[in-house]
């Protein structure tokens, strides 16, 4: 397969005089590389350089039937006289090693002391000082440079043009000659890489004080016996160590799924859904309950940011994570085991809402003694008094409470905590976690707000919760607000006898903070939305009879990204008999003694941190049950870490099982999921009560999923599901199953990267091996 190489004819701007004086002729150069790196072209380039100087050259490859990656050799011979030698080069004056992994006896064969060696290696030059003391040698990371410059493909980088830059420097050849030669050979695009190598090559002179170490001076002479064809009937398996060919190696890595990243509670969403899929509800509960104290609750009322961020949303609809969580909590009685701590701590939790319950649960799970102090009659806070039962039935809440309390948590209800009590708790307990929630509801400060029939929505919801549909309303009801409380009020009002319910919100529908599905349900049930309206006055004598609404326009975006409402002069009037205010709540911390301040969610007295932490809405004002649960858990962890005097603290977002600091690119983007590997499958929708049953009934509206098939839709972004895709597509069969995943046979993996490219869910990555050599 030999072929004649055409070399640009000599146009000698440069001459032999430009050559370093220590070159003697004939000069013999040998290259060792791998198919695809461009070794033969490299030898040709070097020949072209000498030809440019007016010398006679000869260059040829040692052709075989090699494939990309297989070891190859190439030769260049230079002389002042015409060259008559037609043999390969056995005793090279210059040796170029295009892949340091090739270094070893066959490569160094015949290389005598004093020879010049250039090695492509990312290793430090010191590594070669001892074995190559007899030689003048240079080390250059040509692969790195060539890859930077995009020469070749990522798995087979073509390094010839880069390496020649380093060779020129090692020999003391002028850089200009390279420019001429590269231009003539149509390689000027690669000049920058060559120049970089020229500057970066690290050179060590031959150490003449050490002698006799030259590894290769001798040539192998004996020939092995060859078995006759007619006596040969079983072959030896090939043993080409193709793992040496590649510079990259695939590996399995976990990346952060957007759902996990988005979950305010820090749930391992991918983890529990995959556990549900593969092993059922109990296995899923085992994952879920590590972070989630209230799965029955969250499975019903969570705004599910995980679903907003779900990568599947970009294909055929987000995975119905919320209802899967509900499915798990409704179908598992699994309980986590309480740990045994080194030292049992005693902790007080002030407030039995979601944050307090979550904190208490996490502390109790770790074996500590916890007592919850709750001002109301029963535990639950907003879960009990703020969320209507048609969304969160009593049984669901009780189920979660029972699981929490079963960990041995004590509770004292009807136990409000004031400053004195706070100080007492501080003294008596190792730590106190305050999760008192929001306080008073906001009012509008509009004229006529004190008329009868105008009520805080939360008060109505609490009444309604106590009395069910007995908490009667009648006539036309107006609810003011756009959050979940407003929706809850509106839908509860419909269930309590209102003849019509209008929802007044000052921004547009898109900006309503309430859960989308809830808004949709409300509309379906008959709630009318009056968006872009601001109540400016109430009308009526004693009893409210109407409401004056000003039209609102949206202005510039606020800091939170929502457009600022601008109230206009244009008004309309609306008749009504009841107004429910759902405008949000204040946050006040009157229970802390005057001398205490809150810094970074911890209570300080002057410069002393106290073992008191704030959590939930009273600390973050994030306003959702899920945020409260997440914050409660993390606060518990922070408190325990502080008490154990360890500085490392779980971050304030994310779960233990996902990266705490979001590395650049560690979040799985939709484009990194191979949609083509998944069949299009619409989400499984929740079942609902028939619409005609809604009125006058506080039966749970959403009946959840009818099965767990929805879990099959989860892409499992960034986490291996052992789907075998990598194994099936591996061209060389070097991937096999191992106990808990897959094993890649590094000895043979050619680093093509198909497994990584085909991984449906970005649970693999291709990593640079770094060049290591066989010296």
């Amino acid at each position: 397969m030999g072929q004649q190489e055409s070399i640009p004819s000599t146009a000698t701007d440069l001459c032999e005089a430009d050559l370093p004086s220590d070159i003697s002729f004939p000069l013999e150069i040998r290259l060792h590389g791998r198919g695809g790196q461009g070794g033969v072209t490299c030898a040709k380039l070097i020949a072209a350089i000498y030809a440019q100087m007016g010398l006679n050259v000869q260059t040829f490859g040692d052709y075989g039937a090699e494939r990309s990656g297989a070891p190859i050799r190439a030769f260049t011979r230079v002389d002042r006289d015409p060259i008559k030698n037609r043999n390969k080069v056995y005793r090279p004056d210059h040796l170029l090693v295009l892949d340091a992994a090739l270094l070893g006896p066959p490569v160094l064969d015949g290389v005598a002391a004093g020879a010049v060696i250039l090695i492509n290696s990312a290793e430090r030059v010191e590594k070669y000082v001892e074995p190559f003391a007899d030689y003048r040698f240079g080390i250059i990371d040509a692969t790195g440079i060539a890859r930077e410059h995009g020469i070749g493909t990522s798995s087979v980088v073509i390094i010839n043009t880069t390496l020649v830059g380093a060779y020129a420097k090692l020999l003391g050849l002028p850089l200009e000659v390279l420019e001429d030669v590269y231009t003539k050979m149509g390689l000027s695009e690669d000049l920058q890489a060559a120049k970089e190598a020229y500057l970066k090559v690290r050179i060590c002179p031959a150490d003449t004080t050490v002698s006799g170490l030259a590894v290769g001076g001798e040539l192998a002479t004996s020939l092995p016996p060859v078995k006759p064809q007619t006596e040969h009937s079983e072959d030896i398996p090939t043993k080409l160590k193709t793992g040496n060919w590649s510079t990259q190696l695939p590996g399995y890595e976990d990346y952060l799924a957007p759902c996990n990243h988005a979950c305010p509670a820090g749930n391992d969403v991918v983890g529990f859904i995959q556990a549900l899929k593969t092993s059922g509800a109990d296995a899923a509960a085992e994952v879920l309950l590590r972070t989630q104290a209230l799965p029955s609750v969250c499975g019903r009322v969570c705004p599910a940011p995980c679903m907003h961020e779900c990568n599947r949303k970009q294909m055929d609809g987000a995975v119905n994570n919320r209802s899967l969580e509900r499915w798990i909590s409704d179908h598992s009685r699994f309980r986590l085991q309480v740990e045994k701590p080194e030292k049992v701590l005693s902790l007080a939790v002030v407030g039995g809402g979601p944050a307090g319950l979550s904190a208490a649960y996490q502390l109790a799970l770790r074996g500590h003694r916890v007592c919850i102090f709750e001002k109301a009659e029963k535990l639950g806070g907003v879960l009990r008094y703020g969320i209507p039962v048609y969304r969160l039935p009593e049984e669901a809440l009780e189920r979660d409470l029972e699981r929490i309390l079963s960990l041995g948590i004590r509770s004292q209800c009807d136990h409000p905590v004031d400053q004195a009590e706070m100080e007492r708790l501080h003294r008596q307990y190792d730590a106190v976690i305050v999760s008192k929630g929001f306080s008073d509801a906001y009012t509008l400060a509009a004229a006529g707000e004190t008329l009868d029939g105008i009520e805080q929505g939360l008060d109505f919801l609490a009444r309604s919760r106590e009395a069910g549909s007995e908490a009667r309303l009648s006539g036309d009801v107006v609810v003011i607000g756009g959050g979940n409380t407003a929706i809850d009020c509106a839908r509860s009002a419909l269930r309590s006898g209102a003849s019509s319910v209008k929802l007044v919100y000052r921004r547009s529908r898109d900006e309503m903070p309430a859960i989308d599905e809830e808004i949709e349900d409300a509309m379906r049930e008959g709630v009318q939305l009056l968006a872009l309206r601001q109540p400016v006055a109430f009308r009526g004598v004693g009893q409210v009879a109407g409401i004056v609404l000003a039209e609102v326009e949206l202005g510039e975006a606020d800091a939170d990204g929502r457009r600022r409402p601008l109230v206009t002069e244009r008004t309309t009037e609306l008749n009504c008999s009841t107004v429910l205010l759902a405008l949000g709540q204040e946050n006040e911390l009157g229970l802390l003694p005057e001398a205490w301040q809150v810094r970074n969610a911890r209570v300080w007295c002057a410069e002393d941190p106290l073992n008191i932490w704030l959590t939930g809405d009273c600390s973050t004002a994030e306003g959702t049950v899920t945020h409260a649960i997440g914050n409660g858990r993390l606060t518990a962890m922070v408190a325990l870490a502080a008490l154990a005097n360890t500085s490392t603290v779980a971050s304030l977002s994310g779960t233990e099982s996902t990266p705490t600091q979001l590395q650049q690119g560690s979040l799985v983007a939709p484009a990194q999921v191979r949609f083509s590997h998944f069949p299009i499958l619409a989400p499984h929708q929740d079942r609902h009560q028939a619409l005609e049953n809604y009125r006058n009934s506080f039966e749970e509206v959403n009946l959840g999923l009818s099965g767990q098939e929805e879990a099959e839709r989860c892409f499992s972004c960034g986490r291996c599901t052992q789907c075998d895709t990598c194994l099936v597509y591996c061209p060389d069969g070097v991937i096999s199953r191992s106990d808990d995943g897959y094993r890649i046979d590094e000895e043979y993996c050619k680093g093509c990267g198909i497994c990584v490219a085909e991984c449906p869910r970005r649970a693999m990555d291709l990593n640079d091996k770094g060049l290591s050599d066989g010296c």
């Binding site: 060859v226 007619t230 009937s233």
Partner: protein, 386 residues
């Protein structure tokens, strides 16, 4: 033993059929065949035979006929085909392969001139294309020899010391289409003569690849082994003759057929049916008091150099008759054998009967008369014969 009146094409096919049936206890017989004048009758006859555990594939080309034989032989079957002339030229790549795999395929050639110019008559130029490829080569002089040679070729090719393909040549039309009495042994006799085919390196169940890449060193060693195996055939052929004689009561022809050479001063060296004519000429000239003998090279590969040296020793004049031309050189046989003669001998090459000319005794007598007058070896001469 029955005597049948058949042509040489028929005889070759009959021998192959008997050999094929003889392997029914082993892996059977499989052959790929393709027609070409004057070998066609051989393949036609084969296609008409019922061969137990045998299959004759009617191929689409000579190249593929040999491909089929290769596949069959690589799978352990006995295999046979026939072609000639341009068909052989077209087949040759796979003939190279068959030898390279060391497969004992037997092929019958009804020698025919290579074209163009198109010419269907006898010339050894086609089979001599195969000279250097590692095939055993035989040239027969009569129909019985054709039959015997094919049988012997299987035995020889399949011998573990030899293990390579064999070419059995007959002159196109002169033999291929000429009928004469042939002694045909019974199947039982043939069964005894040909043990089951056993190709040790055949593809069986083990992980084994035939025809892999090799390094220069491996290939040169394998060539050397092939060469040695070819040389082994000289001795093994003698053993085959003994065995044949024991079973059939009749000895197949020698690799070199010497006719009245012991006391001859002048020798005629030839291959194929030219040799028969040469023997007639020897008789005629002996009657006239001339001291002439004939050597017919039946086994061309391996070349029997030592034996030829012995026969040539002391001979003053040697006429080498070639039914072929290596254009730009002379006769192929002459090129091969002239070095075996004494340095003082006059070795003259006559290319005669090329492209199917009918060489009669008088042609040879004239040539010998000319040779008797010569004082030195002349340039090879092409003799025009109609």
């Amino acid at each position: 033993m029955a005597v049948e009146l058949i042509s040489a094409n028929h005889a070759a096919a009959l021998a192959a059929t008997l050999a094929g049936r003889a392997n029914r206890t082993a892996r059977g017989f499989c052959s790929g065949v393709y027609p070409i004048t004057p070998s066609t009758e051989c393949m036609e006859y084969l296609c008409g035979q019922e061969i137990e555990k045998g299959k004759v594939v009617r191929a689409d080309s000579e190249h593929n006929a040999m491909g089929i034989c290769i596949g069959a032989s690589a799978s352990g079957a006995r295999s046979f085909t026939t072609t000639c002339s341009n068909g052989l030229a077209y087949m040759i790549e796979n003939c190279v392969a068959a030898a390279g795999y060391r497969l004992p395929i037997v092929m019958s050639i009804a020698n025919r001139t290579l074209g163009p110019p198109w010419n269907i008559w006898a010339d050894h130029g086609d089979s001599l294309l195969m000279r250097d490829l590692g095939w055993l080569q035989f040239y027969s002089a009569d129909i019985q020899q054709v039959f015997d040679t094919v049988l012997c070729a299987f035995r020889l090719a399949e011998d573990p010391r030899v293990m390579m393909p064999a070419l059995c040549c007959m002159d196109g039309f002169i033999l291929s289409h000429t009928m004469a009495q042939v002694e045909v042994p019974s199947q039982e006799q043939v069964d005894r003569c040909l043990p089951p085919t056993d190709i040790p390196h055949r593809l069986d169940k083990s992980a084994h690849t035939l025809g892999q890449m090799e390094t220069p060193h491996q290939s040169v060693v394998h060539r050397a082994q092939h060469h040695q195996a070819m040389l082994n055939a000289r001795q093994v052929y003698a053993e085959v003759q003994d065995s044949f004689e024991e079973i059939f009561g009749r000895r197949p022809a020698d690799p070199l057929v010497s006719y009245r050479t012991e006391d001859a001063e002048t020798l005629i060296v030839s291959m194929g049916t030219l040799g028969v004519t040469a023997e007639r000429v020897v008789d005629l000239l002996r009657e006239q008091g001339q001291s002439v003998g004939s050597v017919r090279v039946r086994m061309f590969r391996p070349m029997l150099d030592e034996e030829l040296r012995k026969i040539f020793a002391g001979k003053k004049r040697i006429a080498v008759l070639d039914r072929d031309i290596s254009i730009g050189f002379g006769g192929v046989l002459w090129g091969e054998v002239r070095g075996f003669a004494d340095p003082s001998a006059i070795v003259q090459n006559y290319m005669v009967g090329v492209a199917g000319g009918d060489v009669r005794p008088e042609h040879m007598i004239n040539l010998l008369a000319e040779l008797e007058q010569a004082n030195e070896s002349g340039a090879p001469r092409i003799v025009e014969v109609a």
